[in-house]
């Protein structure tokens, strides 16, 4: 009997996305531009994070009609976002047949205590994290893929860099710890002990780890890859720029050739203006999306 929705299958799709770029799209036309540019998947949503930020109000799961239209428009995997803790939005996305669910801080949280029990689903989940403890809590709940939170909708890579460096340095610290100190480390970072032991032994997260939140240029993408990301999410960075098709293609090339400055120089040329961007220092605590999720 074929076994569906196993851990190997859920985590496996993320493995296949590695070294690729997942792009936020809001229409079937944008989805086609992304696919044509070489995106390895698209994230279907109603508004990109920059617009969610600008417009305010409660941000929710996208209209299923839009998601289905995007699924029909492309042959690459389609992801979609649900509010943190909103397991019914997740049930709806699973029923639609989306390929991955992002339980995302970009949308307004539906539960300020609990995230979704992701083991209960056949469809795999990706979740954001700012540090190792947060990543391991999400994996403990069943996330089959992790991404940095960064600060979505800002076009500013500084928070994604902070979160990636934080996770990597915490992993290195665990690797150098004697076994006798791992329980205290687990307690301190509020993470499941078994997962802490596993990371200490293997020197990496047990699932794929992408960079997200503020990536706007080919150089940003390559920076995150050199810092250890397995792949890249670009939200507002593409369709809020002057020439989305050219920028999308350049970011795809930069993610593959992240260690090749000559190619990076070539693909960074003449791709139009990037999105304007926001200095993180000008955001109030309430405006920071990364503090959503627990």
């Amino acid at each position: 009997m074929p076994e569906k929705g196993t851990w190997t299958v859920k985590k496996g799709l993320a493995e296949m996305l590695k070294g690729g770029v997942i792009m936020d799209v809001t229409t079937p036309e944008q989805a086609k531009i992304a696919e044509e540019a070489g995106a390895c998947a698209v994230m279907a949503l109603e508004k990109v994070p920059a617009d969610i930020r600008a417009e305010g109000g409660v941000a929710r799961m996208a209209d299923p009609k839009v998601i289905l239209e995007i699924m029909d428009a492309v042959t690459i995997p389609v992801m979609a976002k649900v509010r943190i803790g909103h397991f019914v939005e997740a049930q709806i996305l699973e029923a639609l047949g989306v390929d991955y669910i992002d339980e995302s801080e970009v949308l307004t949280p539906a539960d300020e205590e609990n995230h979704i029990d992701k083991h209960a689903f056949k469809v795999p989940f990706v979740c954001g994290a700012r540090n190792l403890g947060e990543a391991l809590r999400r994996i403990g709940e069943g996330a089959a893929m992790i991404r940095t939170k960064g600060e979505a909708g800002t076009g500013n890579v500084v928070e994604a860099v902070r979160h990636m460096r934080q996770i990597m340095s915490e992993i290195r610290a665990l690797q150098n710890m004697p076994k006798s100190e791992l329980m205290a480390a687990a307690k301190k970072m509020a993470a499941p002990y078994e997962l802490v032991c596993r990371v200490a032994e293997e020197g990496k997260l047990p699932v794929v780890n992408f960079a997200a939140g503020g990536i706007a240029t080919p150089a940003d993408a390559a920076l995150m890859m050199q810092l250890g990301a397995d792949g890249i999410f670009v939200g507002s960075g593409i369709f809020k720029s002057k020439d989305p098709a050219a920028r999308a293609k350049a970011i795809v090339a930069a993610t593959t050739h992240y260690n090749d400055p000559k190619i990076l120089a070539e693909v960074s040329k003449d791709i139009g203006e990037p999105m304007k961007g926001i200095d993180i220092g000008t955001l109030s605590e309430q405006e920071k999306l990364q503090d959503r999720g627990w």
């Binding site: 569906k4 493995e15 590695k18 989306v98």
Partner: protein, 192 residues
Amino acid sequence: MGIKIGVLALQGAFREHSIMLDKLGASSTEVRKPEHLEGIDALVIPGGESTTIGKLMAEYGLLEPIREMGQKGLPILGTCAGMVLLADKIKGSDQPRIGLLEMEVVRNGFGRQVDSFEEELKIKALGEAPFRAVFIRAPYVERVGSSVEVLAAYGDRIVMVKKGKILACAFHPELTDDPRVHKYFLEIIETP
């Protein structure tokens, strides 16, 4: 073992192939540009997104040299997206491909991610014990030309084929602990 195996590293699960080859004592090297093909004894094309990998191959001049090397007898293993890229016909698609195998593949032939599955497969070429095959948004082969040998099927869907020194499967042996597909490929490489 003195052989060096190139692993196409444009996008996808290339690292898992390198780890598996390493466990079997074969050294591997990442291929991102045409010059990385120099001196390799075989090539692995991993799983990933076939459209992404195909476009990057076309963009960075890898399709032609790999096609030529394959025609001259370079052993090639393609898994999932790798199988799609090796087919000369891709149902309903004009995406870039290597096209060394005379067959028609159906992309995402088993459905979307919610339909991805694991299953025990009987594969004669790998011995008696069944192989735990992981299918992720996997393709299958609808029909093969006379030059292509069918090694495994799931129901009436062909999922593993061979032509000369070129081997392709719809599933992901690199995501399991079972090294038999990679061992079989190493035997193909070493057969004069």
